[in-house]
Structures are given as structure tokens and as C-alpha cells.
Amino acid sequence: MARRITILLLAVLLIAALTTLPFFLKAFHIRVGLSIFLSAGFAVCWWLLAGFTAYYSFGHTAFVGIGAFAAALALRAVPEAAPALQLAWSLGAGLVVAGGIAAIIAWPILRLRGHYFTIAMLAVALVLGEAVAAFPVFGGSTGLALPNLAPMGVRVEAFFYWIALALLAIVMAVAWVISRSRLGYGLAAIREDEDAAQMLGVPTTRFKVVAFVLSGGLIGLIGAVYALNLGYITSDSVFRGSLSLEMIVNSLVGGMGSILGPVIGAAVMTGVTKLVLADLLEYHLAITGVLIVAVVLVAPDGLVGLWRRRRAQSAGR
């Protein structure tokens, strides 16, 4: 019990520290923090499905795109409303539309397992990306612009930094609650052996659909913020295969074993990319590639796994 209170206290302190950080940082560093929170949020949502059930989606950028375009189109309907209302309205649109579409495709697509599910999600993302690029409602190849919703007197990057931080805290809390619930245990049973779980009476289909819809909807929510921060979106910028891959890479680099994995992975990968490699732009992809290969071969359970192993070793000595 004392341990749990310590952890809670630490979390509150950490969030408080992160919240005050923008007052001391340069705009560039605030933007780095913002990128970390966004990619950590995406990774946690992807992990919500993959980490619990071992259903590895290769197309979660679909939900980023849906959330982004839902937010952009929703804002067109209320051009005169107060910025705070517009913000809530567009984030709500991202959450509901992405969650809704996830619910529609969940049943057929979750019948597929293993590689087939992985590829099918890739196909979903590709189809949606091409459709958005093809139909004029979505601005075609020119895309859509979003208004600046930051209140007067607040720096834009700090504003989105705080929103992204809050959303990250929310999705982590959701993942944590699930991991302690009946749903979480059921999903873990699906990961170990889906057929056995079904025979033991776990409502596998319902649980998988719930995890999928939560994962997709929450990504849509963060996707809306992603779009608002960009200020201008096209099919290529939000239905990006590399966004899907980043969620996977960040989760695996950090470690699939715990909720901290995706967050640490996102912090390390985004931090390294934005801070260390900023001067090595030409070789940025290659160095990222080397990092990925190295982590898979050296730390197959991710950085969290590596740390746990080290600690177990030193405790055993």
C-alpha cells in the first residue's frame, strides 16, 4: 500500500514538473516535448490492443487520419463558436468518429489472426488514405486547413504541449485501469491462447472489439490534436505508414511488457531523432534503422525489459 502511494505521489510530482516546464524552455524544446507526448500517446493506444492481445496492427495511422479529418471537418461546421468550444467539439469529433469507424470494422477484421490481421489493418489504412486523397470533400491533394485555437497570450507550442500531456496522462490512466480489470485479464488470456480463453468462457470477440474500439477512438482523439497542431493536413501527412511504424517501433524499443514501455520508447526514439540527430539530417533514417536493429538484437524485451533483467541480476548477486 505504501508503495502504491509512493508511485502515485511520484506520478503527480512528475506531471506537475512537466506542466511547469514550458515556462523555462525555448520554443524548440517545448516542441520536442510536444512531439514526445503525441508519439507516446499514439504508442500507448497501439499498445492497448497489441500489448494486451498480441494483435499487431500495421495500420493504426488510419485512426490518426480519421481523427484529424473528423476534427478539421467538424470545425468547418462551427466557424463562429468560441475557441474553447471549438476545441472540445473537434476533439470530441476525433474521438467519436475514429471510435465509431473502429467499431464498424472491428468485427470483420478481428476474425483474422496473426499476419492476416496485421496486413488487413495495413490495407484499411491504405484504402482510407487513398480515398481521402481522391474525394474532394477532404480537400483532395491540397488538404484542409485548421484554425489556430490557442488562447490569446498563450504560446501555441506550449498550449498544445499541455493538451498533449493531459491526453497522454489520460490514455495511460485508461490503460492502467484496464490492466487491473476483468477486461485486462481476459485480453491477456487471449494473448496467451485465444482458443483456450474462449473455451474457459472469456467472451473473446466482445473483449477484442472493446480493446480495438478504445485503441482506435483514443488515437482519433490524439489525432485531432495532432491535426490542430499541424494547422494544415493532407492525406499524406496524417495517413502516413511511418506513423503506424513509429507506434510499433516505439512500443518494441521501450518494451511490450508494461505500459511504461511505449512511453519510454517514444521518449527515447523521438528525443534521439529530434535532439541528437537534428544536425545529422542526411543520415537520420540510417541511424534510426541501426538503433532499431540494435535494440531488437540486444534488448529483445525492450529497454524496460533490459532494465528489469539488470535489476534482477544485481538482486540475485
Binding site: Y56, L112, G114, A123, G241, I248, L285, T288, V296
Partner: protein, 292 residues
Amino acid sequence: MTALVQTLVNGLLYGGILSIAAVGFSLIFGVMSVINLTHGIFVIGGAYGALVAWSVLGIDPLLSIPPLMLVAFALGWACQRLVIQPAVERGNPVAALLVTFGFALIAVNLLTVTFSSSVRSISPSYSFINLRLGDISIDLVRLVAFGCGLALIAILGSFLRFSRWGRVIRATALSELGARLCGVDARAVYAMTFAVASAFAAASGVLIGMMLPFTPADEVTWTVYAFIVVTLGGVGSLGGAMLGGLLLGLVSTLTQTYLGAVYTNMVMFLILLFTLLVRPNGILGSAFKASR
């Protein structure tokens, strides 16, 4: 009517290229159950290899195919032994996938630094010649590439069907433990499979380089097309890759002509999705695994 026939001819010629460009991916997926994201790198690498041979050494692209296949074979072997096999042995289902992704990032970066990201093309002396057959015109380069593609598929098919290595590869794909108990060194088989697949990917890249302009970033496209062809036709079988490639070529050309170019990819991806939902093992099923 003529327009339709012309579209169908173009579609078949394009489909033949899609087929040969997918066989390597299909082989690795079928034998090792690894989704190989370096596939497109070997394809585009073949195109750049042919570009260098043609523009620097003056070698006809078709003649550069055998030496480039040898180089790709060696690179594929090394890549599998040094990096991918260790990842496969980690036991994590996505470890191998991630490693191939990391490798593709490194390779595409090196290609971009070496050749820049601008669009390149190879046009040997016989480019831009059109054969006429009544009202139908056929691009000579495409016809040549199509013929070479079929010949390469036939060679790979004979290798798998009749050679000792081919037999061992098929057996390992059907039952790894069964093959090992016969005295097969499974790691050597996987390295061989990866090397052969890489060689044929590079060969297809030469043919693609003769027909279409290319950039380093195109590697993603060819990996995804290989995905679709294999999913459509069925994993691990050359017949499946042929069927999937030809179908996809026809669909793509027909969509382009009658619906508009913006819808081409969308229709192709929709077909991929639909196939997965209705018949996940492809039209011909998996060549190696029992049908479900």
C-alpha cells in the same frame, strides 16, 4: 473495343512485372513466415545497379541481370545470416519484421545519399519503339521485360521443383522439424531462401527500371505491391504470384483507364482488404500450409 483490348494488353504486360517483382517476397513469407520489408530495397537496388551498369559501364540492362543477381544473392545471404536469423531466434513474432524494417531504413538512406532522391530512368537503345499489331500498339521494352519476367519465374520454378536445394527448401517450409530430423540444417536453408529471393527481387528491379522511372523511396511501393500480389494469389506458390500479379495488373490498368488514375491504388488496396476478409489464404491458398 480497341481501347479495351489495348487496356487489357497493357494490364497483362504490367501484371507480368508485378508477378516477378513479388516472387521473392512470396518465397520468404511462405518458407520463413517472415514479412520481409527489405524486399522493395532489393527491387529498387536492382534498378539502381542496372542504372550504374548502363550509364557508367555502358552495359545493356538485360545483360546486367545475371551479375546483379549474384551480388543480391550474396547480400541477401549475409543479411539473413547476420541480422535476420538472430532476430528470428529471439522468438518474438515481430522481431524479424522490425529488423527488416530497420534494415530497409538504412538501405534507403544509403541509396538516397548515393543517388539523391531525384527521379531516374534507364532507356536503352530499344526504348520508345512501339510494335503495332493491327490497332494495338505494344511498347517493346514492356514486352521484353514481360518475356524476361516469365523466363525468370520459370527458372525459379524449376529450381524449386527439381533441384536438391529446391526440394530441401520446400520440405523445410512444410515441416521445419521434419526436415531437421532428415538432417537438414534449417539455418542454411533459410539463408539460401533469403539469398535466392533477394536475387530474383533484384532481377525484377532491373526490368522495372527499364519500364518505369524510379526513386529510392519507391521501395515501399514495391514491398506493398508484393504484399497485395501474394495475398491475392496465395503464399509461397509461384502460380499464386503469377495469378495475383496478372489480376492486379489488369485491375490497375482498367481502373486507370475507366475510373481515373487517382482511384488506382484505392481499388488495389480494396481488393487486398476484400481478399483478406473473404479468403485470407489467397485464391490458390497457401502452397505450404494446410488449407484452413
